[in-house]
């Protein structure tokens, strides 16, 4: 029986973990505000932007639409935050984890698929043409990113011969998976951007469809949806750390601090990318997803499988 890679902490630590995720999400929103203010040349530095936005949305009255499907609409807009919280339960913070699941990698996959339902339901619930068009755009992206994302998760699992996230992190002593699985890492990052409806994958919220899925969202619902997107970016970056970036491995600092440093660095790259790239239109990205990403990531899996078989 191998020694467990991580220690499970009592369930009460779930609250601090959620708070940490919230802090990461706020940091991401503040960075986005800062970068936006810098390129648009406004005089304020933009760092306080998320706080102003939260205050504004908390006070805003909820609008509704004729014949809106309120239940599903609200389930959808609150769902992204829930997904992010569920994802971080299996991410070890150094030695500690909330939930040492044997199939943690599959858990992440199960959670990220929920985005399909939640984003689409948010588009559907409002009973508005623009929202619904936005929802279907997300599904079109989903058809292109989901399979490459699944196969990208296969690579580290095969490399470590385990689906346990802590074991995958422990298997990277000496050589991080990102070094010899770069394709899987890039595809995983694209998948995280996509489930957070972020950057090149934001046509579902595009200005060309008047905000798409978010066109009719207001008040708390909008706050939960937008906060959920930032939280998903943060959770995705945090999950990449044990999967590809060596977990808590690093000199000087304790393991938990390295996890946070790596998460913040990757999160900053995600946020920075948003303004740098035009959108990947869903109809075009379908081609890229199936003809480029999927074969590339399958080839990556093959290489990893051959190396893993050769070692054992």
């Amino acid at each position: 029986m191998p020694e467990p890679a991580v220690t499970v902490v009592p369930a009460g630590w779930a609250l601090p973990a959620a708070g940490l995720l919230g802090l990461l999400a706020v940091a991401a929103a503040a960075l986005d505000g800062f970068l936006t203010a810098r390129t648009t040349g406004t005089s304020s530095p933009g760092l306080s932007q998320p706080f102003g936005e939260v205050a504004r949305l908390m006070r805003q009255r909820r609008r509704t639409m004729v014949a809106a499907d309120r239940l599903l609409w609200r389930v959808g807009s609150a769902g992204l935050l829930l997904m992010a919280l569920m994802i971080i339960t299996v991410v070890p913070l150094g030695r500690w984890t909330l939930f040492d699941l044997d199939v943690g990698v599959i858990w992440f996959n199960a959670m990220d698929v929920l985005a399909w339902a939640f984003v689409w339901l948010t588009g559907w619930g409002a009973n508005s043409a623009h929202s619904l068009v936005g929802g279907y755009r997300f599904l079109a992206h989903g058809l292109a990113y989901e399979l490459p994302l699944m196969f990208a998760l296969v690579a580290p699992a095969v490399g470590a011969s385990s689906l346990n996230v802590g074991t995958v992190a422990a298997a990277q002593q000496g050589l991080w998976f990102v070094v010899w699985m770069p394709v899987a890492f890039v595809v995983f990052c694209l998948g995280v951007l996509a489930i957070a409806v972020w950057g090149p994958f934001a046509p579902a919220l595009g200005a060309d469809v008047a905000g798409g899925v978010t066109a009719e969202l207001s008040g708390v619902d909008r706050l939960l949806f937008q906060g959920g997107r930032y939280a998903l970016l943060a959770a995705g970056a945090a999950f990449a750390v044990p999967m590809f970036l060596g977990g808590g491995a690093g000199p000087l600092l304790p393991a938990w601090a390295w996890v946070l440093v790596k998460t913040l660095a990757l999160l900053a790259v995600f946020v920075w990318l948003r303004r740098r790239l035009p959108v990947a239109r869903p109809d075009l990205f379908m081609e890229a997803g199936w003809l480029v990403l999927l074969p590339a990531v399958l080839l990556q899996d093959l290489i990893v499988a051959v190396v893993a078989a050769g070692r054992s």
């Binding site: 014949a67 090149p200 060309d208 303004r275 959108v279």
Partner: protein, 230 residues
């Protein structure tokens, strides 16, 4: 069965391009919409998100103040270049490239609110190079709304509209740069008749249709005054 849930009548059906029956949705774009030429109204008939039919009209087409501003605008190099930058910013924003859109907007502001010409000219040159080099944008906008010389002549569109959306975007930036450098735009008129727009957007999806309209580089309320404003 309730034929009007929530007071909204059910959609009527129509044959789609594959010969299947599909719901028709009527959606009006404009006259006031972000990143949209102000005053233009496009009544679209959608099947899914594909524009199967459209008709255009203008609000306040014979509003004297708009007319006066337009005449003034066409004579002033500064305003001409600023309008091109504004239109380019809208198109870039619709294409989802926020950084480039912000730059175009700042050049527009510099042209309108400062006396300096060299600063914006240099910035415009850098923006033109950045947009021209972006392979991602080229991939994203490739072969949207292509128009050749024959199409242009048939629809009464100016020769500057040739190519696809990306070509027209680069054309906008080039026209602004040339005008700042003191050159007159080629040709007597580059007015775009709004009657030609329905033909250009028919068969494209909503997002692409908006990119195409933005790529036409319209002046506010411009177009042939004779257009039917129903």
């Amino acid at each position: 069965m309730d034929m009007a849930p929530g007071g909204i009548p059910l959609a009527s059906g129509g044959e789609d391009r594959d010969g299947l029956e599909m719901d028709l949705l009527h959606l009006r774009l404009g006259p006031v919409l972000a990143y949209w030429p102000a005053g233009l109204v496009l009544r679209c008939t959608l099947q899914g998100d594909v524009v199967v039919d459209a008709e255009t009209s203008l609000v306040a087409a014979d509003n004297p103040t708009a007319e006066a501003e337009l005449r003034h605008g066409s004579e002033d190099a500064r305003r001409f270049a600023a309008r091109r930058c504004d239109n380019a910013a809208s198109l870039l924003r619709l294409a989802g490239w926020d950084d480039a859109a912000s730059r175009a907007r700042r050049i527009r502001d510099a042209l309108l609110f400062t006396d300096d010409f060299d600063g914006p000219a240099g910035e415009l040159h850098r923006l033109r190079r950045m947009v021209g080099r972006s392979w991602w944008l080229r991939w994203s906008l490739r072969s949207i709304g292509p128009l050749d010389a024959h199409d242009l002549a048939r629809r009464g569109l100016p020769a500057t509209m040739t190519g696809d959306v990306r070509d027209r975007l680069l054309g906008m930036l080039d026209r602004a740069a040339h005008r700042i450098a003191g050159q007159q735009p080629p040709g007597p008129s580059r007015r775009v008749p709004v009657d030609a727009i329905p033909d250009l957007v028919r068969g494209w999806d909503l997002a692409t249709a908006r990119l195409i309209v933005a790529s036409l580089d319209l002046d506010p309320l411009a177009g042939d005054r004779e257009v039917s404003h129903a």
